[in-house]
Amino acid sequence: MTAFSEMLEPRWNLPTVMVGETIAGHDAGTFPPSDCSEALVQYCLTTLPAFNRLKRLLGQAGGILLLRELAISSDGVGGDLLRLAVDRFRDARDALLSRTVPPFAAAHAAKLKEALALIGSILQSLEDNVGRSEALLIQLRLARKCLIDASDNRFGMTLLDFRQGCCGHTSIKHIPT
Protein backbone atom coordinates (compact mmCIF):
# COMPACT_ATOMS: atom_id res chain seq x y z
CA MET A 1 0.00 0.00 0.00
CA THR A 2 1.38 3.39 -0.92
CA ALA A 3 1.31 6.26 1.48
CA PHE A 4 0.32 9.24 -0.56
CA SER A 5 2.23 11.55 1.71
CA GLU A 6 5.39 9.88 0.47
CA MET A 7 4.52 10.91 -3.03
CA LEU A 8 3.26 14.31 -2.08
CA GLU A 9 5.91 15.47 0.33
CA PRO A 10 7.30 17.98 0.60
CA ARG A 11 5.08 19.93 -1.73
CA TRP A 12 1.75 19.21 -0.13
CA ASN A 13 2.85 18.60 3.43
CA LEU A 14 0.24 15.96 4.13
CA PRO A 15 0.14 13.54 7.01
CA THR A 16 0.58 9.87 6.32
CA VAL A 17 -2.73 8.60 5.09
CA MET A 18 -3.07 5.15 3.69
CA VAL A 19 -5.57 4.57 0.94
CA GLY A 20 -8.20 2.18 2.18
CA GLU A 21 -7.06 2.67 5.73
CA THR A 22 -9.68 2.20 8.39
CA ILE A 23 -9.60 2.83 12.06
CA ALA A 24 -10.12 -0.04 14.44
CA GLY A 25 -13.75 -0.43 15.29
CA HIS A 26 -14.92 1.71 12.43
CA ASP A 27 -15.20 0.61 8.84
CA ALA A 28 -16.92 3.64 7.44
CA GLY A 29 -16.98 7.34 8.00
CA THR A 30 -20.68 7.58 8.73
CA PHE A 31 -22.50 8.07 11.99
CA PRO A 32 -25.45 6.07 13.32
CA PRO A 33 -28.72 7.63 12.14
CA SER A 34 -29.98 7.65 15.70
CA ASP A 35 -27.07 9.75 16.91
CA CYS A 36 -28.08 13.38 17.14
CA SER A 37 -25.91 14.33 20.06
CA GLU A 38 -24.74 17.86 20.58
CA ALA A 39 -21.14 16.79 20.03
CA LEU A 40 -21.99 15.18 16.70
CA VAL A 41 -23.96 18.17 15.49
CA GLN A 42 -21.12 20.45 16.51
CA TYR A 43 -18.56 18.29 14.73
CA CYS A 44 -20.58 17.97 11.54
CA LEU A 45 -21.43 21.64 11.27
CA THR A 46 -17.83 22.66 11.72
CA THR A 47 -16.70 19.98 9.26
CA LEU A 48 -19.21 20.90 6.57
CA PRO A 49 -17.04 23.65 4.99
CA ALA A 50 -14.12 21.22 4.68
CA PHE A 51 -16.39 18.60 3.15
CA ASN A 52 -17.70 21.13 0.64
CA ARG A 53 -14.17 22.21 -0.28
CA LEU A 54 -13.20 18.60 -0.94
CA LYS A 55 -16.32 18.06 -2.99
CA ARG A 56 -15.49 21.02 -5.18
CA LEU A 57 -11.85 19.97 -5.45
CA LEU A 58 -13.01 16.57 -6.65
CA GLY A 59 -15.07 18.30 -9.33
CA GLN A 60 -12.19 20.62 -10.21
CA ALA A 61 -9.66 17.82 -10.56
CA GLY A 62 -12.12 15.72 -12.56
CA GLY A 63 -13.06 18.71 -14.65
CA ILE A 64 -9.46 19.58 -15.50
CA LEU A 65 -8.89 15.98 -16.51
CA LEU A 66 -12.04 16.15 -18.62
CA LEU A 67 -10.91 19.33 -20.36
CA ARG A 68 -7.56 17.69 -21.01
CA GLU A 69 -9.26 14.64 -22.53
CA LEU A 70 -11.39 16.86 -24.72
CA ALA A 71 -8.44 19.09 -25.61
CA ILE A 72 -10.39 22.15 -24.49
CA SER A 73 -8.23 25.09 -23.56
CA SER A 74 -9.02 26.90 -20.36
CA ASP A 75 -8.10 30.19 -22.02
CA GLY A 76 -11.08 32.44 -21.86
CA VAL A 77 -12.83 30.24 -19.35
CA GLY A 78 -11.63 32.10 -16.32
CA GLY A 79 -7.95 31.72 -15.71
CA ASP A 80 -5.54 28.94 -15.02
CA LEU A 81 -7.88 26.29 -13.69
CA LEU A 82 -5.12 24.07 -12.38
CA ARG A 83 -3.55 26.94 -10.47
CA LEU A 84 -6.93 27.80 -8.98
CA ALA A 85 -7.42 24.17 -7.97
CA VAL A 86 -4.01 24.01 -6.31
CA ASP A 87 -4.77 27.18 -4.36
CA ARG A 88 -8.10 25.73 -3.21
CA PHE A 89 -6.34 22.52 -2.31
CA ARG A 90 -3.96 24.36 -0.01
CA ASP A 91 -6.89 26.07 1.71
CA ALA A 92 -8.67 22.75 2.17
CA ARG A 93 -5.54 21.03 3.43
CA ASP A 94 -4.77 23.75 5.96
CA ALA A 95 -8.36 23.82 7.24
CA LEU A 96 -8.65 20.07 7.50
CA LEU A 97 -5.34 19.34 9.11
CA SER A 98 -5.47 22.10 11.66
CA ARG A 99 -8.64 20.74 13.26
CA THR A 100 -8.86 18.81 16.45
CA VAL A 101 -11.04 15.80 15.82
CA PRO A 102 -13.03 14.24 18.66
CA PRO A 103 -12.36 10.52 19.09
CA PHE A 104 -15.85 9.47 18.00
CA ALA A 105 -15.29 11.16 14.64
CA ALA A 106 -11.86 9.70 13.93
CA ALA A 107 -13.12 7.39 11.16
CA HIS A 108 -15.01 10.20 9.52
CA ALA A 109 -12.02 12.52 9.62
CA ALA A 110 -9.82 9.75 8.22
CA LYS A 111 -12.13 9.45 5.23
CA LEU A 112 -11.82 13.15 4.55
CA LYS A 113 -8.05 13.04 4.88
CA GLU A 114 -7.92 10.08 2.53
CA ALA A 115 -9.93 12.03 -0.02
CA LEU A 116 -7.62 15.00 0.47
CA ALA A 117 -4.52 12.90 -0.12
CA LEU A 118 -5.97 11.33 -3.24
CA ILE A 119 -7.00 14.66 -4.69
CA GLY A 120 -3.60 16.11 -3.85
CA SER A 121 -1.95 13.27 -5.69
CA ILE A 122 -4.17 13.80 -8.73
CA LEU A 123 -3.47 17.53 -8.81
CA GLN A 124 0.22 16.86 -8.53
CA SER A 125 0.07 14.50 -11.49
CA LEU A 126 -1.86 17.06 -13.48
CA GLU A 127 0.59 19.77 -12.52
CA ASP A 128 3.55 17.65 -13.51
CA ASN A 129 1.64 16.51 -16.59
CA VAL A 130 2.27 12.89 -15.77
CA GLY A 131 -0.01 9.94 -15.19
CA ARG A 132 -2.37 8.27 -17.57
CA SER A 133 -5.97 9.37 -17.50
CA GLU A 134 -7.06 5.89 -16.56
CA ALA A 135 -4.93 5.86 -13.42
CA LEU A 136 -6.05 9.35 -12.46
CA LEU A 137 -9.65 8.37 -12.98
CA ILE A 138 -9.24 5.46 -10.59
CA GLN A 139 -7.86 7.83 -7.97
CA LEU A 140 -10.74 10.21 -8.56
CA ARG A 141 -13.21 7.40 -8.05
CA LEU A 142 -11.51 6.41 -4.83
CA ALA A 143 -11.64 9.99 -3.61
CA ARG A 144 -15.31 10.16 -4.50
CA LYS A 145 -15.96 6.94 -2.63
CA CYS A 146 -14.32 8.44 0.45
CA LEU A 147 -16.61 11.45 0.25
CA ILE A 148 -19.68 9.28 -0.29
CA ASP A 149 -18.68 7.29 2.79
CA ALA A 150 -18.33 10.52 4.74
CA SER A 151 -21.64 11.95 3.53
CA ASP A 152 -24.42 12.62 5.97
CA ASN A 153 -27.62 14.07 4.56
CA ARG A 154 -28.79 15.28 7.94
CA PHE A 155 -26.08 17.90 8.05
CA GLY A 156 -25.99 18.84 4.38
CA MET A 157 -22.87 16.79 3.76
CA THR A 158 -23.89 15.53 0.33
CA LEU A 159 -22.00 15.32 -2.93
CA LEU A 160 -24.91 16.88 -4.75
CA ASP A 161 -26.43 20.06 -3.40
CA PHE A 162 -30.16 19.83 -3.97
CA ARG A 163 -31.09 22.90 -2.00
CA GLN A 164 -31.62 25.20 -4.93
CA GLY A 165 -31.94 22.79 -7.81
CA CYS A 166 -35.00 22.61 -10.04
CA CYS A 167 -36.24 19.71 -8.00
CA GLY A 168 -34.70 20.96 -4.81
CA HIS A 169 -37.67 22.19 -2.91
CA THR A 170 -39.57 20.35 -0.30
CA SER A 171 -42.83 19.17 -1.75
CA ILE A 172 -46.23 19.56 -0.14
CA LYS A 173 -45.89 16.04 1.18
CA HIS A 174 -43.29 17.31 3.58
CA ILE A 175 -44.93 20.55 4.59
CA PRO A 176 -46.78 20.43 7.89
CA THR A 177 -50.45 21.28 7.52
Binding site: N52, I64, S74, F162, Q164, C166, C167, G168, S171, H174
Partner: protein, 312 residues
Protein backbone atom coordinates in the same frame (compact mmCIF):
# COMPACT_ATOMS: atom_id res chain seq x y z
CA UNK B 1 -43.93 13.41 -44.09
CA UNK B 2 -42.19 13.31 -40.75
CA UNK B 3 -38.74 11.84 -40.49
CA UNK B 4 -38.85 11.26 -36.77
CA UNK B 5 -41.35 10.41 -34.12
CA UNK B 6 -40.77 12.51 -31.06
CA UNK B 7 -41.72 11.26 -27.62
CA UNK B 8 -41.59 12.98 -24.28
CA UNK B 9 -40.98 10.28 -21.72
CA UNK B 10 -41.79 10.87 -18.10
CA UNK B 11 -39.61 8.71 -15.88
CA UNK B 12 -40.49 10.10 -12.44
CA UNK B 13 -42.40 12.99 -10.92
CA UNK B 14 -43.15 15.10 -7.89
CA UNK B 15 -46.92 15.05 -7.32
CA UNK B 16 -47.21 18.47 -5.77
CA UNK B 17 -44.65 21.09 -6.60
CA UNK B 18 -45.11 24.77 -5.79
CA UNK B 19 -46.13 26.85 -8.80
CA UNK B 20 -43.68 29.59 -7.83
CA UNK B 21 -40.90 27.21 -8.77
CA UNK B 22 -42.41 26.97 -12.21
CA UNK B 23 -43.59 30.47 -13.06
CA UNK B 24 -41.78 33.59 -11.99
CA UNK B 25 -43.55 35.49 -9.24
CA UNK B 26 -46.38 33.01 -8.71
CA UNK B 27 -46.05 32.74 -4.99
CA UNK B 28 -48.86 31.22 -2.95
CA UNK B 29 -50.53 29.96 -6.09
CA UNK B 30 -50.72 26.34 -5.10
CA UNK B 31 -49.06 23.25 -6.46
CA UNK B 32 -48.70 21.27 -9.65
CA UNK B 33 -47.28 18.00 -10.74
CA UNK B 34 -43.59 18.28 -11.66
CA UNK B 35 -42.63 15.56 -14.10
CA UNK B 36 -39.06 14.44 -14.75
CA UNK B 37 -38.73 13.71 -18.46
CA UNK B 38 -36.38 13.04 -21.30
CA UNK B 39 -37.17 12.98 -25.00
CA UNK B 40 -36.83 10.22 -27.55
CA UNK B 41 -36.34 11.13 -31.22
CA UNK B 42 -36.89 7.95 -33.15
CA UNK B 43 -36.07 7.76 -36.84
CA UNK B 44 -35.46 5.08 -39.43
CA UNK B 45 -31.70 5.17 -39.05
CA UNK B 46 -31.18 6.77 -35.66
CA UNK B 47 -32.56 6.63 -32.16
CA UNK B 48 -31.61 9.75 -30.25
CA UNK B 49 -32.44 11.12 -26.82
CA UNK B 50 -32.53 14.58 -25.38
CA UNK B 51 -31.07 14.06 -21.88
CA UNK B 52 -30.94 10.81 -19.92
CA UNK B 53 -32.35 11.47 -16.46
CA UNK B 54 -30.71 11.00 -13.08
CA UNK B 55 -28.78 8.24 -11.38
CA UNK B 56 -31.45 6.59 -9.30
CA UNK B 57 -29.06 4.19 -7.63
CA UNK B 58 -27.25 7.03 -5.93
CA UNK B 59 -29.90 9.66 -5.42
CA UNK B 60 -33.26 7.93 -5.74
CA UNK B 61 -33.72 7.29 -2.05
CA UNK B 62 -32.74 10.77 -1.02
CA UNK B 63 -34.88 12.46 -3.67
CA UNK B 64 -37.83 10.31 -2.72
CA UNK B 65 -37.55 10.90 1.00
CA UNK B 66 -36.62 14.53 0.93
CA UNK B 67 -38.43 15.93 -2.09
CA UNK B 68 -41.20 13.45 -2.76
CA UNK B 69 -39.97 12.30 -6.17
CA UNK B 70 -41.90 9.14 -6.98
CA UNK B 71 -42.61 6.63 -9.73
CA UNK B 72 -39.05 6.44 -11.05
CA UNK B 73 -38.63 4.01 -13.92
CA UNK B 74 -35.42 2.85 -15.54
CA UNK B 75 -34.63 3.71 -19.16
CA UNK B 76 -35.14 0.03 -19.97
CA UNK B 77 -38.70 0.13 -18.72
CA UNK B 78 -39.47 3.49 -20.27
CA UNK B 79 -37.97 2.84 -23.69
CA UNK B 80 -39.66 -0.54 -23.85
CA UNK B 81 -42.91 1.39 -24.22
CA UNK B 82 -41.46 2.67 -27.49
CA UNK B 83 -40.10 -0.74 -28.52
CA UNK B 84 -36.50 0.24 -27.86
CA UNK B 85 -33.74 -0.65 -25.44
CA UNK B 86 -31.19 1.77 -23.99
CA UNK B 87 -28.48 0.10 -26.07
CA UNK B 88 -30.42 1.03 -29.21
CA UNK B 89 -29.83 4.72 -28.51
CA UNK B 90 -26.97 5.95 -30.68
CA UNK B 91 -27.04 9.67 -29.89
CA UNK B 92 -27.79 11.77 -26.82
CA UNK B 93 -28.08 15.56 -26.79
CA UNK B 94 -27.40 16.83 -23.28
CA UNK B 95 -29.22 20.12 -22.80
CA UNK B 96 -27.22 20.90 -19.66
CA UNK B 97 -25.12 19.20 -17.02
CA UNK B 98 -27.57 19.08 -14.12
CA UNK B 99 -27.81 15.69 -12.45
CA UNK B 100 -31.40 15.07 -13.59
CA UNK B 101 -30.40 15.50 -17.25
CA UNK B 102 -26.87 14.16 -17.43
CA UNK B 103 -26.74 11.75 -14.48
CA UNK B 104 -27.67 8.47 -16.06
CA UNK B 105 -25.16 8.11 -18.89
CA UNK B 106 -24.10 4.66 -17.71
CA UNK B 107 -27.42 3.24 -18.85
CA UNK B 108 -26.71 4.13 -22.49
CA UNK B 109 -23.65 2.08 -23.36
CA UNK B 110 -23.54 2.74 -27.08
CA UNK B 111 -24.58 6.36 -27.32
CA UNK B 112 -22.44 9.31 -28.31
CA UNK B 113 -23.16 12.34 -26.13
CA UNK B 114 -23.26 15.94 -27.37
CA UNK B 115 -22.92 18.86 -24.98
CA UNK B 116 -21.89 22.49 -25.33
CA UNK B 117 -18.20 23.06 -24.67
CA UNK B 118 -18.98 26.11 -22.58
CA UNK B 119 -21.24 24.04 -20.32
CA UNK B 120 -18.31 21.89 -19.31
CA UNK B 121 -15.60 24.55 -19.22
CA UNK B 122 -17.64 26.97 -17.16
CA UNK B 123 -18.66 24.39 -14.59
CA UNK B 124 -15.03 23.54 -14.02
CA UNK B 125 -14.30 27.22 -13.59
CA UNK B 126 -17.28 27.73 -11.28
CA UNK B 127 -16.06 24.98 -8.98
CA UNK B 128 -12.93 26.99 -8.33
CA UNK B 129 -14.81 30.06 -7.14
CA UNK B 130 -14.98 31.02 -3.48
CA UNK B 131 -17.48 29.48 -1.10
CA UNK B 132 -19.95 32.36 -1.29
CA UNK B 133 -20.61 31.67 -4.97
CA UNK B 134 -21.31 28.01 -4.56
CA UNK B 135 -24.99 28.46 -5.23
CA UNK B 136 -23.87 28.23 -8.83
CA UNK B 137 -22.94 24.64 -8.26
CA UNK B 138 -26.38 23.41 -7.37
CA UNK B 139 -27.55 20.29 -9.17
CA UNK B 140 -24.02 19.51 -10.36
CA UNK B 141 -22.78 16.10 -9.33
CA UNK B 142 -18.98 15.69 -9.28
CA UNK B 143 -19.68 12.06 -10.11
CA UNK B 144 -21.11 13.14 -13.45
CA UNK B 145 -17.84 14.92 -14.19
CA UNK B 146 -16.02 11.66 -13.65
CA UNK B 147 -18.46 9.84 -15.90
CA UNK B 148 -17.78 12.57 -18.44
CA UNK B 149 -14.06 11.75 -18.29
CA UNK B 150 -14.87 8.12 -18.94
CA UNK B 151 -17.02 9.06 -21.94
CA UNK B 152 -14.34 11.39 -23.29
CA UNK B 153 -11.69 8.71 -22.89
CA UNK B 154 -13.82 6.39 -24.99
CA UNK B 155 -14.44 9.10 -27.60
CA UNK B 156 -18.13 9.12 -26.74
CA UNK B 157 -18.37 12.71 -25.58
CA UNK B 158 -18.52 15.40 -28.24
CA UNK B 159 -18.37 19.05 -27.31
CA UNK B 160 -20.19 21.55 -29.48
CA UNK B 161 -19.12 25.15 -29.77
CA UNK B 162 -22.26 27.14 -30.62
CA UNK B 163 -24.71 26.08 -33.31
CA UNK B 164 -24.41 22.77 -35.08
CA UNK B 165 -26.59 22.06 -38.09
CA UNK B 166 -27.56 18.55 -39.14
CA UNK B 167 -25.87 16.80 -36.27
CA UNK B 168 -28.24 14.08 -37.38
CA UNK B 169 -30.21 14.61 -40.58
CA UNK B 170 -32.70 17.41 -39.91
CA UNK B 171 -31.58 17.95 -36.32
CA UNK B 172 -29.78 21.10 -35.22
CA UNK B 173 -28.26 22.11 -31.90
CA UNK B 174 -28.34 25.67 -30.56
CA UNK B 175 -26.76 27.22 -27.48
CA UNK B 176 -28.56 29.40 -24.96
CA UNK B 177 -25.56 30.76 -23.09
CA UNK B 178 -25.93 32.12 -19.58
CA UNK B 179 -29.54 31.13 -19.27
CA UNK B 180 -30.66 28.15 -17.21
CA UNK B 181 -26.96 27.24 -17.02
CA UNK B 182 -23.71 28.60 -18.47
CA UNK B 183 -23.93 26.58 -21.65
CA UNK B 184 -27.48 25.29 -22.01
CA UNK B 185 -28.40 23.83 -25.35
CA UNK B 186 -31.70 23.29 -27.14
CA UNK B 187 -32.54 20.99 -29.98
CA UNK B 188 -34.38 21.83 -33.17
CA UNK B 189 -35.91 19.04 -35.21
CA UNK B 190 -36.81 19.98 -38.79
CA UNK B 191 -39.04 17.06 -39.24
CA UNK B 192 -39.53 17.45 -42.97
CA UNK B 193 -35.76 17.60 -43.36
CA UNK B 194 -35.92 20.90 -45.23
CA UNK B 195 -33.65 23.80 -44.35
CA UNK B 196 -36.68 26.10 -44.44
CA UNK B 197 -38.79 23.67 -42.56
CA UNK B 198 -42.52 23.89 -42.16
CA UNK B 199 -42.44 21.28 -39.47
CA UNK B 200 -40.06 22.47 -36.81
CA UNK B 201 -40.05 21.14 -33.26
CA UNK B 202 -38.14 22.72 -30.42
CA UNK B 203 -36.91 20.58 -27.54
CA UNK B 204 -36.20 23.16 -24.92
CA UNK B 205 -34.71 21.26 -21.98
CA UNK B 206 -35.19 23.43 -18.91
CA UNK B 207 -35.22 26.70 -20.83
CA UNK B 208 -39.00 26.73 -20.76
CA UNK B 209 -41.01 24.83 -18.21
CA UNK B 210 -44.56 25.72 -19.18
CA UNK B 211 -46.30 27.70 -21.86
CA UNK B 212 -47.26 30.23 -19.24
CA UNK B 213 -43.57 31.17 -19.23
CA UNK B 214 -44.15 32.49 -22.72
CA UNK B 215 -47.77 33.48 -22.97
CA UNK B 216 -49.02 33.70 -19.41
CA UNK B 217 -50.18 36.85 -17.68
CA UNK B 218 -47.58 38.92 -15.91
CA UNK B 219 -50.09 40.45 -13.50
CA UNK B 220 -48.45 39.07 -10.43
CA UNK B 221 -45.15 40.70 -11.26
CA UNK B 222 -46.55 43.92 -12.69
CA UNK B 223 -46.07 43.32 -16.38
CA UNK B 224 -48.61 42.66 -19.10
CA UNK B 225 -47.21 39.33 -20.18
CA UNK B 226 -44.77 37.10 -18.40
CA UNK B 227 -42.66 36.97 -21.55
CA UNK B 228 -42.50 40.11 -23.57
CA UNK B 229 -41.03 39.50 -26.98
CA UNK B 230 -40.92 43.19 -27.94
CA UNK B 231 -37.25 43.37 -27.17
CA UNK B 232 -36.63 40.19 -29.07
CA UNK B 233 -38.48 41.43 -32.13
CA UNK B 234 -35.82 44.05 -32.62
CA UNK B 235 -33.29 41.32 -33.04
CA UNK B 236 -32.67 40.19 -36.56
CA UNK B 237 -34.04 36.71 -37.00
CA UNK B 238 -32.60 34.42 -39.65
CA UNK B 239 -35.15 33.77 -42.34
CA UNK B 240 -34.96 30.06 -41.88
CA UNK B 241 -36.68 30.25 -38.56
CA UNK B 242 -39.38 32.56 -39.81
CA UNK B 243 -41.73 29.65 -40.04
CA UNK B 244 -44.43 28.28 -37.91
CA UNK B 245 -42.96 26.33 -35.07
CA UNK B 246 -45.66 23.90 -34.21
CA UNK B 247 -44.79 23.25 -30.72
CA UNK B 248 -42.10 23.60 -28.18
CA UNK B 249 -41.69 20.32 -26.49
CA UNK B 250 -40.91 20.95 -22.90
CA UNK B 251 -39.33 18.30 -20.83
CA UNK B 252 -40.90 19.24 -17.57
CA UNK B 253 -44.05 17.96 -19.08
CA UNK B 254 -47.48 17.00 -17.94
CA UNK B 255 -48.43 14.46 -20.53
CA UNK B 256 -52.10 14.09 -21.31
CA UNK B 257 -51.76 11.26 -23.74
CA UNK B 258 -50.92 7.85 -22.49
CA UNK B 259 -51.00 4.92 -24.86
CA UNK B 260 -51.47 2.32 -22.18
CA UNK B 261 -53.91 4.17 -20.03
CA UNK B 262 -52.31 3.21 -16.76
CA UNK B 263 -50.87 5.54 -14.21
CA UNK B 264 -48.41 3.08 -12.79
CA UNK B 265 -46.39 2.85 -15.95
CA UNK B 266 -44.21 5.67 -17.16
CA UNK B 267 -46.25 8.39 -18.73
CA UNK B 268 -45.53 8.86 -22.36
CA UNK B 269 -46.62 11.55 -24.72
CA UNK B 270 -46.29 10.88 -28.38
CA UNK B 271 -45.68 14.20 -30.01
CA UNK B 272 -45.79 13.18 -33.63
CA UNK B 273 -46.56 9.94 -35.38
CA UNK B 274 -43.78 8.74 -37.65
CA UNK B 275 -44.38 9.18 -41.36
CA UNK B 276 -47.46 11.20 -40.71
CA UNK B 277 -48.36 14.78 -41.06
CA UNK B 278 -50.59 14.95 -38.03
CA UNK B 279 -49.41 15.47 -34.55
CA UNK B 280 -51.02 13.77 -31.69
CA UNK B 281 -50.54 15.87 -28.67
CA UNK B 282 -49.78 19.19 -27.28
CA UNK B 283 -48.11 19.88 -24.02
CA UNK B 284 -50.08 21.34 -21.20
CA UNK B 285 -47.00 21.94 -19.53
CA UNK B 286 -45.09 22.50 -16.53
CA UNK B 287 -42.42 24.44 -14.92
CA UNK B 288 -40.16 27.32 -15.50
CA UNK B 289 -37.67 29.27 -13.70
CA UNK B 290 -37.09 32.93 -13.49
CA UNK B 291 -37.96 35.76 -15.79
CA UNK B 292 -34.28 36.23 -16.33
CA UNK B 293 -34.12 32.94 -18.13
CA UNK B 294 -36.94 33.91 -20.40
CA UNK B 295 -35.18 37.15 -21.21
CA UNK B 296 -32.25 35.17 -22.41
CA UNK B 297 -34.21 32.79 -24.57
CA UNK B 298 -33.18 32.69 -28.19
CA UNK B 299 -35.27 34.82 -30.48
CA UNK B 300 -36.71 31.70 -32.09
CA UNK B 301 -39.06 31.36 -29.22
CA UNK B 302 -40.89 34.53 -30.02
CA UNK B 303 -42.69 32.60 -32.72
CA UNK B 304 -44.28 30.51 -30.07
CA UNK B 305 -45.79 33.57 -28.57
CA UNK B 306 -47.12 34.56 -31.99
CA UNK B 307 -49.04 31.31 -32.08
CA UNK B 308 -50.59 31.21 -28.67
CA UNK B 309 -53.60 29.08 -29.55
CA UNK B 310 -52.34 25.65 -28.81
CA UNK B 311 -54.86 22.86 -28.51
CA UNK B 312 -55.96 22.37 -24.95
Amino acid sequence: MANYSIWVLEYAYVPNYHVSGIIYGYHNQGYRKLPYCYVLIKGKHHAAMVDVGYNHKEFGGYLGDKFGVINWHSPSEVLKECSLRPEDIDTVFVTHAHFDHFGNVDDFPKAKFYIQEREIAKWVWAMSLPERTQWMMVAIDPGDVLRGVELAKNKRLVTVNGDLVNVLPGIDLHPAYDSHTFGSMWVEVRNDGKSTSQDTWVLAGDLIYVYENLSGSGDLVGVEKIYNPERERKISVPSKVAVKIRLAVVQKFTAWYHPKGTLKKPTIALMQEPDSDTYVSNSGLNPSCALRQIDFLPSHFLFLSLFPSFPA
